[in-house]
C-alpha cells in the first residue's frame, strides 16, 4: 500500500451529497450504496461519518460529467470512473463520480457498481493512495465487489491502520460527537483604509500584473502603478485606473488579470466574468462598453473570475488561472484548448492557490504573486525556486527592506 500526503486530524467527519446521479432513477439507492461504503470504513477505523443535509461538510459527494468544477475533467463512459481528493481544507476529501458511467446498485444489473467504486474512492478521501496489491480495494482498476460479503484485504486494513490506528474487531469504538468550536475573541484588525484612498506602495497586495509594451503595470483596486527599467514612474504613487486607461468604462473598478496579446499587441483586461480589449489605452473601436463574457474564451459558465493570465517562458504559451484550475489559450482561435483542460494547478509545484497575479518579466522568468509575497518559477525543475516566497514590495516597488511598517505607521 501507499499512503497519501495527508490524513484527517479529527475522527468525526461529515459528508454531504451535492448532486445525485442523473442516470440512476432512484436517489435513495445512490445514497444507500454510498452510505454503505462509508460504513465499511467505519468498521476498520475509529472514524465516524455523519450525513450533513446542508452547509459545509468534510466530504462533498458529487456526480458530474466532463468538466465539473475542478482541474480533473471526466472522460465520458469508461476510462476514469471517479476520483477523490486526499484529506485537507477546501476540496480535501471531496469525492466525484463520472455521471457518464452506467451506475448500478443491484447485483443483477449490468453496469458499474457504485458501491465498489465508492469504497475505493473513500479510501483516497481518508488518505490512502493506490496499492499494487491486486485484490486490495485500493488497487486502481475497477473490480465489482459483492456488497453483502464485502471485506477489506489485509493490505487495506494495514494501510488505514497506519493513519488512524488499529481497531480491535470485537470492540466498537466510540467517538465523541462533534463539539462546537471554542469561542475565541475576534482578532483586532487595523482600522480599514478609506476605499477611495490609494493603496500603500510598500504595503499592499496586487490584483494583476502585466508587461505591456515594455513597461510593468501593477493593478490594485481602481489604482495602478507603472514602472520601467529605472523603477516606478509617476513619483512612486499609484494612478487611478481611469486616468491611465482612459478608455476604461466607468463601471470597471478593478482588474483581476491582464496581458498583452503577442499577435497584435492588444491588451486584454479581465474584470469579474467580463473582458475588455484595448488598443493602447483605448477600448478597441466597436468593442462593447459593457465588455464581453469570458465564456467567449470557451470557459465554463460557472467561472466567476480569472485570477491571473500569464505567458509561460518555457513555451511562450498563454495560460488562464482560476482557483485550483488552469487552461492553455489557443492564441489563434482566442479560445482555451478544449481537450484535457482545465488541469489542476498542482502541476505548477509550489505555486500558491488561488494566486493573485502572474506574469513573465523582462528576464524571461515567470513570477507568481499571492498576498504580499511572490514566487519565482523554475521552468526546468517545474517548481518554484527554493528560496521563495519573498516580499513583493522590495523587488517590484523598490521599497527598502522593512519599509512596510514605517510606511503603515506614518500613514
Amino acid at each position: 500500500y501507499i499512503l497519501g500526503p495527508s490524513k484527517w486530524k479529527k475522527r468525526h467527519l461529515t459528508y454531504r451529497f451535492e448532486t445525485y446521479s442523473n442516470v440512476m432513477s432512484d436517489y435513495l439507492r445512490t445514497r444507500d450504496a454510498i452510505t454503505q461504503a462509508l460504513k465499511h470504513w467505519e468498521k476498520v477505523t475509529t472514524l465516524r461519518f455523519t450525513e450533513q443535509l446542508s452547509g459545509e461538510a468534510d466530504i462533498k459527494i458529487k456526480f458530474g460529467k466532463n468538466y465539473h468544477g475542478d482541474g480533473y475533467p471526466f472522460d465520458g463512459r469508461g476510462g476514469i470512473l471517479a476520483h477523490a481528493f486526499f484529506p485537507g481544507d477546501d476540496n480535501g476529501g471531496d469525492t466525484h463520480f463520472d455521471d457518464d458511467e452506467r451506475w448500478v446498485t443491484e447485483e443483477h444489473q449490468s453496469g458499474t457498481d457504485l458501491f465498489s467504486v465508492a469504497v475505493h474512492e473513500f479510501g483516497h478521501a481518508l488518505g490512502l493512495a493506490h496499492s499494487d496489491v491486486r485484490n486490495a480495494i485500493m488497487f486502481p482498476w475497477y473490480k465489482k465487489y459483492n456488497r453483502p460479503n464485502f471485506g477489506f484485504h489485509s493490505d487495506d486494513i494495514e494501510a488505514i491502520s497506519k493513519l488512524y490506528g488499529k481497531v480491535h474487531p470485537d470492540v466498537i469504538p466510540t467517538v465523541a460527537p462533534p463539539t462546537s468550536p471554542p469561542v475565541t475573541q475576534a482578532p483586532t484588525t487595523p482600522k480599514p483604509r478609506d476605499k477611495n484612498s490609494p493603496p500603500l506602495t510598500c504595503d499592499t497586495t496586487y490584483d494583476a500584473i502585466a508587461l505591456i509594451r515594455g513597461e510593468i503595470f501593477i493593478f490594485k483596486g481602481k489604482w495602478n502603478w507603472r514602472r520601467d527599467q529605472k523603477g516606478l514612474l509617476d513619483g512612486n504613487t499609484p494612478l487611478s485606473l481611469h486616468r491611465l486607461w482612459y478608455g476604461m468604462p466607468d463601471h470597471v473598478e478593478y482588474i483581476d488579470a491582464v496581458y498583452e496579446r503577442k499577435s497584435d499587441h492588444r491588451i486584454i483586461f479581465f474584470s469579474g466574468n467580463r473582458y475588455y480589449v484595448f488598443n493602447a489605452n483605448q477600448l478597441v473601436h466597436g468593442f462593447p462598453e459593457e465588455g464581453r463574457p469570458i465564456t467567449d474564451y470557451g470557459l465554463p459558465n460557472d467561472i466567476e473570475k480569472i485570477d491571473a493570465v500569464f505567458t509561460w517562458s518555457y513555451n511562450s504559451r498563454t495560460y488562464l488561472i482560476t482557483g485550483n484550475m488552469y487552461w492553455k489559450l489557443d492564441e489563434k482561435e482566442q479560445r482555451v484548448v478544449p481537450f484535457d483542460y482545465p488541469r489542476d494547478m498542482g502541476i505548477w509545484q509550489g505555486v500558491p492557490t488561488p494566486v493573485d497575479a502572474a506574469f513573465q518579466f523582462w528576464d524571461g522568468v515567470t513570477y507568481f504573486f499571492k498576498g504580499d509575497q511572490y514566487w519565482q518559477f523554475n521552468d526546468e525543475l517545474m517548481k518554484v525556486e527554493d528560496q521563495f516566497p519573498q516580499p513583493s514590495a522590495e523587488k517590484w516597488m523598490g521599497c527598502p527592506l522593512n519599509s512596510t511598517r514605517s510606511e503603515t505607521e506614518s500613514n
Binding site: 500526503p5 471526466f74 469508461g78 470512473l81 477523490a84 493506490h130 502541476i347 509545484q349
Partner: protein, 91 residues
C-alpha cells in the same frame, strides 16, 4: 517502445503515464515526454507494468495498452516524488 509502431497509441500511452504519475506531471504541459529516450521510457513502462501486475516487457504491448484502457480510478498511482525517493532509499 510500441509493438505495432502506431504513433497515436504511443501518444496515448505517454499521456496515460503522465496522468497517473509514472512520468512527471510537468511533462504534460512542457511536452518533454516525447523527447525522452527509449531506455527512459522502457523503464517507466516497466514501472507501470509492475504496478499493474503485468509482464515487465518495457514495451507498450497489447496487454499493457488494454490495461491502460480498462476502467479505473482517476487518482494518480504514483505521487510526485514518490518513485524517485523510493529509488534513493534502495541505493
Amino acid at each position: 517502445i510500441i509493438s505495432n509502431g502506431n504513433a497515436s497509441v504511443f501518444h496515448e500511452g505517454l499521456q496515460f503515464l503522465i496522468r497517473y504519475g509514472y512520468l512527471p506531471s510537468s511533462d504534460m504541459e512542457s511536452g518533454r515526454a516525447e523527447l525522452r529516450t527509449a531506455e527512459e521510457l522502457g523503464t517507466i513502462i516497466r514501472d507501470f507494468q509492475q504496478f499493474a501486475g503485468l509482464n515487465k516487457t518495457g514495451y507498450l504491448d497489447e496487454a499493457t495498452i488494454a490495461q491502460m484502457k480498462a476502467p479505473r480510478c482517476g487518482v494518480q498511482d504514483i505521487r510526485p516524488g514518490y518513485r524517485y525517493s523510493r529509488r534513493r532509499r534502495r541505493r
